[in-house]
Symmetry: C2
Subunit: 188 residues, 2 copies
DNA sequence: ACGGATTCGGAATCCGATTCCGCTTAGTCT
DNA sequence: AGACTAAGCGGAATCGGATTCCGAATCCGT
């Protein structure tokens, strides 16, 4: 069988990949997903061919941008949200971040959803996010802030809801977060 | 100024419009939104031009299909959900319907969302849906099932969330409905 | 049954993603 | 340093699918 030899990419290739990703992030955030591959290429100061070398498909490019956002959310969750002493606040912080990110990047998120939102969160980032959820959850269960039967899947679901609501302008997602968190409280 | 003379459309035109809409509904439900205009035309036994005569844009066609679904939900809400004696069950019934419809028509709903979900529900159907929400809400407020400060906007938001969750396979939307409804209960 | 308005059909056009390939380079070997 | 070569690059050409156009066909009022 053929062993794939994982050669390190040329330095300029890596630089270009970065430029493209950066330009795409910028453009998507600004003009939504009506951006064309050619625009991305131009903004990155690169030919279309190069864009396609690094991101074989529009969809892949979008996913790459999306992953950046998830990574960003992950970092924020670790640094800001986990620090909150109150469990409910920790969750609120986390969900709010998701809301804000999706609210800003409306353009991408339509595509993000198609790319990453359809099923489970994927890859390392996804796993890490779930782990954080688990952690907060554990805290909440033991200090009685949350119902005992709450699962990470529930948090994931609520996160998805927050994303959807803030992406489309369906309503005030802060309020939604409150309602959802109330729904997780122990029953009287 | 030119008075638009609202002449009744030719009978065959109306018939064709119906065929196209029907074919589109069918195809979207079956093959998702990867369906092409030409396919719709063929399935409807009609030329592309005719499809475009009635639905000037792919997007418009999708919206038309979507509106049918909303109408369907409206009918169900009136006939089934309002009848439930228990307020919570009435709401649950309503949300569950939304969940089921979106779960089935995954194909369309991606587009539905783009078409109708982005802002408020539109037109008569939208207004009627909100009216029903208002009605259930009123009941719930007076019998103490719901917090006094719940607004229709909240219901709309939750509806959107249910739709998003069931469309993508983010989780068990029945469970989500439970959580959300718990969140609307009066605080202890 | 006739004539003009309306609708139909589907080939032609337009637009944007994706592919292809000859030309350039970074990195390596001497 | 100079030569060599595979990895990368640019952007014209291709392809797929939505949308437009217009002569032919069909209604409907008279």
């Amino acid at each position: 069988m053929s062993n794939a030899a994982p050669r390190r990419p040329r330095t300029d290739a890596e630089r270009n990949r970065g430029r493209v990703l950066h330009a795409a992030t910028e453009l998507f955030a600004q003009h939504g997903d009506q951006v064309q591959m050619a625009d991305v290429a131009k903004a990155a100061g690169v030919g279309v061919g190069t864009v396609y070398r690094h991101f074989p498909t529009r969809q892949v490019l979008i996913e790459a941008v999306a992953e950046q956002r998830f990574t960003e959310i992950l970092r924020y969750a670790r640094e800001e949200c986990l620090a909150r002493p109150d469990t409910r606040q920790a969750l609120a912080c986390f969900f709010a971040r998701i809301g804000r990110v999706h609210e800003e990047g409306r353009g991408v998120s339509g595509a993000i959803e198609a790319a990453l939102g359809d099923t489970e969160p994927r890859g390392q980032v996804g796993a890490d996010l779930l782990a954080i959820g688990e952690e907060i959850l554990e805290r909440g269960r033991s200090d009685g802030t949350l119902r005992a039967d709450v699962k990470v899947a529930d948090l994931y679901m609520i996160a998805g809801a927050v994303a959807a609501i803030s992406r489309n302008v369906v309503g005030d997602w802060h309020r939604f977060i409150d309602i959802a968190l109330d729904g997780l409280q122990p029953r009287p």
